[in-house]
Symmetry: C2
Subunit: 229 residues, 2 copies
Amino acid sequence: MAITLYELAGADPDRRFSPFCWRIRLALEHKGLPFEGRPWRFTEKDAIAFARSDKVPVLVDGDRTVADSSAIAAYLEAAYPDRPSLFGGGAGEALTRFTVGWTDLVLHGALVPLILLDVHRHLDEPDRRYFRESREARFGTSLEAVCPDPDAQLASFRRALSPVRATLRGQPFLGGAAPLYADFVVMGAFLWARGVSPLGLLPDDDPVAGWRARMLERLSDEARRLTAG
Amino acid sequence: MAITLYELAGADPDRRFSPFCWRIRLALEHKGLPFEGRPWRFTEKDAIAFARSDKVPVLVDGDRTVADSSAIAAYLEAAYPDRPSLFGGGAGEALTRFTVGWTDLVLHGALVPLILLDVHRHLDEPDRRYFRESREARFGTSLEAVCPDPDAQLASFRRALSPVRATLRGQPFLGGAAPLYADFVVMGAFLWARGVSPLGLLPDDDPVAGWRARMLERLSDEARRLTAG
């Protein structure tokens, strides 16, 4: 049964950067499930209308279609219980939701201002217009004005990572001795930045940088090809 | 085998408010383990020197002595595997550490300025001197100057709870359908405040307030007696 993952792409179809799509790519690799990652752009709403969603990731697995990264992760765990687990059991699945909420609301919130213009720069022309209009409406200001003090914003991003840092002082991954979906969720933010921005988000001696390096080492060649560097 | 838990107390020995001690009291109740909670004060270092710790909680279980809330929780899980689990398995135990790190660094950080003077007010005389000296050294200012704008600080505390709020919109407890240690860790912060402060930390319609009410309902009469009405 063929699996297809619709993933956000830039003008270059091999530049994939959505943090939510990365969560699922990493989850599929973790479960060892072969799949095709199909590039999709913000303005190609028609191409995913069949999934009753206007956003990616969208996963098609045979005759099943699932939208939304959290719903897709839950689907994969239920549909492929004999493959390596994303959550390590029901309690792990429930506990992971806090890390997801924190990443969505706190970590992404601290990262977005730093990379918003970089994302814009990587989009194709129709997506650039869409992105500028929708994001300027969301932030109530021009893309260029969202981050008036990048140094302070970078310091704030690094401070926001304090609970990840504290956890990684005691264990190599958020999931413990090996990564779980919680790791993929936080790593999604770093792959989002890596796909578009030259910014050095972390000093080398940060335990979070060590974890990021361990996560990068585990990427498949295919995944590595779809991010920068 | 008798279990004793040394817990921080105010001038009134029945006023227990340490968030770290509450984590363990809730964990012991969760596991259904009978224990004696022994009041201890900041300046009674000699009374816990046998545990090679100068802080509570300290747990004595027969001939075993364990200090530090995280170490105690891990000990209880390993020593009483047939009792209700605190983590729901190894992955859950690893994933819980992120919630612990977040609570220690972010939630407590946002709460402390709001209740520092209330804590001071509830201590006995020797502890008041100790608390003022140690906390003024830590904050680099007088206790009275730590929170110049309580309204802004309260707003900041409520904003900090956004990942808890997001999680509780989808499930009744951080641990899922029933509470786990992650719930006890976050609840420790609310019981800390409840033990000393009249401040209304949450509006009634906040999903976090609903969760806090569910957690309070589950407290034993003994635990309820040791916090404020």
